[in-house]
Subunit: 205 residues, 2 copies
């Protein structure tokens, strides 16, 4: 693209570094900002910079937080002995939105993926194992995505926990509430049948 | 969405003000920035702010520019007597990319659209008429989109130019180079036939 302005070119270049934003979209977004009051750009620019410079990872669960200890870990009414292991903060938000979970989290920061050069040492696995060995955790709930990488990560952590007497579970996989059986994929439907639950339990919640 | 961090919430809120960016996409983009070196965020933030604060509109053609007079208007090898009237800066970039045009531009900054509350006075129409009346322009090429608003704007300017002896033309509409006739819409194909050109001319360029 041929820009008549260096300032515009730089803004578009930086904007198009974001994932899923090409040069054309970046140009559209930047031109939109030019049509808006200057305050909108300065607020956006300020919010991004402040976030990047001041954000912390909770020292207990590695969730994103404004403080040393995140809101969940510092809430005394949450059950610290139950820990749900997730990949990133979006999973924490998804589970929190269900209002069905009162335990703590542990954010790994990714999944083991040799293809992408991510090994166990790049993830927050060690602190989790330590917490278990210190006897602070009674149950670990694995809530990673059920991909090859997710399963590998689950299994790696599970192996590391051998010898401890922590209870482990994984979230239930099955067909979505409201879905038609005929459109469900066979792996999911198969798991739904294998992991069937007593009918009385399905009436709760 | 339930954010564990005020900083994150603010950044996502600001990001989702951009057109076509919802809360989920904004969150994805912001979390991406958190995983990148701090420099990337500060460069993005800086580029947007600098652009918004320092960008100028060329005093001759209203194109976006870093200087008082844009690169095109200040280039002595461009023909200032031919002026292509376009809606916004993206159209300038599109025509510049063809490398087929050596004249000047005039950026209107929009189209007349009573539905959106845009009248002729909000657009840069007056300076164009003045330039014509001062005898500085020999030919005006209308290159607005062929929508109701585009046609209205063309016609409004055309009427304003009555009594001057400026030449007016519009860019050719027809089916795209390489397109199959059977898939072309009938209006476009109709115009292609009405505005047919001598065969010799089609061999150029």
């Amino acid at each position: 693209m041929d820009f008549s302005s260096k300032l515009l070119e730089q803004a578009v270049d930086e904007m198009s570094q974001l994932p899923g934003i090409g040069k054309r979209t970046a140009l559209r977004l930047v031109l939109h900002l030019l049509r808006q009051p200057e305050a909108q750009t300065s607020q956006l620019s300020d919010a991004l910079l402040k976030l990047r410079q001041n954000i912390k990872l909770c020292r207990n669960c590695y969730n994103i937080s404004d403080t040393e200890l995140c809101e969940i870990c510092s809430n005394p009414s949450r059950i610290s002995e139950i820990v749900c292991v997730v990949e990133d903060i979006r999973d924490v938000m998804a589970i929190e939105n269900t209002d069905q979970y009162r335990g703590h989290y542990h954010v790994l920061g990714g999944k083991i993926s040799p293809m992408d050069g991510v090994g166990p040492s790049q993830l927050n696995i060690k602190p989790l194992i330590e917490k278990v060995k210190e006897g602070k955790i009674e149950e670990i709930i694995f809530a990673l995505s059920s991909t090859l990488e997710g399963d590998t990560t689950n299994f790696y952590i599970f192996k590391q926990l051998e010898g401890t007497n922590v209870k482990t579970s994984t979230i239930a996989r099955g067909i979505s509430v409201g879905d038609e059986l005929e459109y469900a994929d066979e792996v999911t439907l198969g798991r739904s049948i294998t992991n069937r639950i007593p009918f009385e339990n399905s009436m709760k919640g």
